[in-house]
């Protein structure tokens, strides 16, 4: 099942990311994963949180510009070729990846990857047909 990623517009200036983390901390929002993509004058913080709805409210209150998109999360065995094996399934299913990022868990022997793909619903379906189930938020929460 796909999960919701929150993308937040950040000006490329000192203190901007700080304002965001402060807001999330004050609202008790737990980040599961975070990645920052940067252009010259702005950046986008992409976050997976424990409660996307509450996060949306907090961001609006803090006057941040944010957008939600559906992403896929997969566990990857922490061993040589782990990611490669996963991607070979993506390749076989003709899934186009726009961007991806990894996050670690306390659990030994596994890493996790978040994938933003061109057509999330279609990718989910074709990957499922190949026996690959993406993780839902609850499963990520347990990590």
């Amino acid at each position: 099942m796909s999960i919701k990623q929150v993308s937040v517009f950040l000006e490329n200036r000192p203190g901007k990311l700080f304002e965001l983390t402060k807001l999330l901390a004050e609202h008790g929002i737990d980040m599961r994963a975070l990645s920052i993509a940067e252009a010259t004058d702005f950046g986008i913080a992409r976050i997976i949180v424990n409660d996307a709805d509450r996060c949306a409210l907090a961001l609006r209150e803090g006057q941040f510009i944010a957008q939600f998109s559906d992403v896929l999360a997969f566990a990857v065995p922490d061993e040589p070729g782990g990611l490669h094996n996963l991607l070979s399934e993506f390749n076989a299913a003709r899934v186009n990846i726009e961007y991806m990022y990894a996050f670690l868990s306390g659990e030994k022997g596994r890493a996790y990857m978040i994938f933003r793909v061109t057509d999330t619903a279609q990718a989910e379906k074709t990957l499922a047909e190949r026996g690959l189930q993406s993780l839902d938020l609850e499963e990520i929460g347990r990590i």
Binding site: E11, A39, I44, R46, Q63, F64, I65, Q67
Partner: protein
């Protein structure tokens, strides 16, 4: 149905208007000669005496007044009436240099409010209407002018002044405001805030808005009309010449009628000072023929526009001026190219951005740097860096084709550009020339 506040004046014959203008001009010149030594010296230097001025046809013999004169004569040097007859001042924001302080007698306030009442009725207001005045009150002329005009029409007037946007929206809804008066940038901001609150045009009773005190484009007009569900009217004025109401739009919205019984317009070549023929674009010069306390004669507004005396289908006979292209004060010369902020606004709105921007100009190694900060909007934001950079590139290209030079476009977070409860800070020019 077109409504007039003073039909016998607004629709008077051109001959009648000319008689009024001539009569008043002759008197005005005499009064100024006697009461304003500063202007008398200018007249003497030009070899003109009040006897030379017999009618409005002699107007061009008189010397110009400019903002520089206002600075030099600050604060009381241009007073045309005894100070004891003056009852009020208003003042500019001083964004383009030293503040202008303008004086008013009771008579001056009366004629100013008449002008604003004409503008309100031309926008469809009657004594049945509820007029919310969200222009700043105080030193700024916007609040006082439209407030007074609204009283004259007999509208229920809601003097909210600027700021506290949520309360503004509450009053519009609770009191059933039908006419809104404020700066165009504040109207746009109100619209944005309404969207955030999940309110659309159908949720507010407004039907018309009178917006002025800032340059704004046709695109911005359409944008405001759409988000607020109103017809938006332009109004023009300067503190030096009372304030808003020097000219205003009628229902035809093909230029703004100048209140010619009080203000005589001319168009001149801004470089040579020579009068230009009807229809030619040039600097607007205004003579206030019956203002007592601050009697501006041939005042150079620095606004670039043109005039038409063609009869307007609305029935008014007063001359119409085009929307000023930009105050020559606002015009920037960047790498030798003339840039008006209103042009930038046009491109932004055409490409789906809000008109929240700031122009930064600096000079590094003898070359002008030209950067435009543009606020990101929720509608334009996506999680893809590539798509946002494409928007930036398109914007930059659009600006280049409009302006002739390419600015750097920087996207900033919403509400970071100082605005607009009064006037937005559109230009930051750090060049030391």
């Amino acid at each position: 149905m077109e409504r007039y506040f003073q039909p016998e004046i607004e629709c008077a014959s051109r001959d009648q208007l000319k008689r009024w203008q001539s009569e008043r001009l002759v008197k005005q010149v005499r009064r100024v000669w006697e009461n304003v030594p500063y202007y008398r010296k200018k007249m003497e230097a030009q070899g003109v005496t009040p006897e030379d001025i017999q009618s409005v046809d002699d107007l061009t013999m008189l010397p110009f007044l400019s903002k520089a004169d206002l600075r030099e004569a600050y604060p009381y040097g241009l007073l045309g009436a005894p100070r004891k007859d003056c009852v009020r001042i208003h003042s500019t924001s001083g964004t383009t240099g030293k503040r202008v302080v303008a004086f008013y007698t009771r008579h001056d306030i009366d004629l100013w409010e008449d002008c604003c009442a004409r503008a309100l009725m031309a926008a469809g207001a009657t004594d049945e209407d509820v007029v919310q005045v969200s222009y700043g009150y105080g030193l700024f002329t916007g609040g006082a002018g439209l407030d007074g005009g609204s009283h004259k029409v007999g509208c229920l007037t809601v003097p909210t002044s600027s700021g506290n946007t949520d309360r503004q929206i509450m009053f519009i809804r609770d009191l059933g405001a039908t006419v809104l008066c404020c700066t165009p940038s504040y109207a746009a901001y109100l619209g944005e805030r309404m969207k955030e609150l999940g309110l659309g045009p159908e949720d507010i009773p407004l039907k018309a808005g009178i917006f002025g005190a800032e340059a704004w484009s046709e695109e911005m007009r359409r944008d405001i009309e759409r988000t607020l569900g109103i017809k938006a009217f332009d109004i023009y004025g300067l503190t030096e010449l009372s304030g808003p109401g020097v000219s205003f739009e009628c229902s035809e919205q093909r230029g703004m009628h100048i209140n010619e019984d009080h203000f005589i317009p001319e168009i001149i070549d801004p470089d040579t000072g020579e009068a230009l023929p009807e229809g030619a674009e040039g600097e607007l010069v205004i003579t206030a023929v019956d203002k007592e306390a601050f009697p501006m004669i041939r005042y150079r507004t620095r606004d670039i526009c043109s005039l038409t005396y063609e009869k307007c289908p609305c029935g008014r006979t007063h001359v119409r001026m085009t929307k000023p292209k930009g105050r020559s004060d606002d015009m920037l010369i960047i790498r030798g190219v003339n840039v008006f902020p209103s042009q930038i606004e046009t491109v932004l709105l055409n490409q789906g951005f809000a008109a929240n921007y700031q122009i930064l100009v600096d000079r590094v190694n003898n070359t002008d740097t030209f950067e435009i900060l543009v606020e990101m909007t929720p509608e334009m934001f996506t999680d893809s860096i590539g798509k946002i950079q494409e928007l930036q590139k398109n914007l930059s290209a659009g600006l280049q084709s409009m302006l002739g030079i390419r600015p750097k476009v920087t996207l900033v977070a919403p509400k970071t550009i100082a605005r607009s409860e009064g006037k937005a800070v559109r230009v930051v020019d750090k060049r030391k020339i």
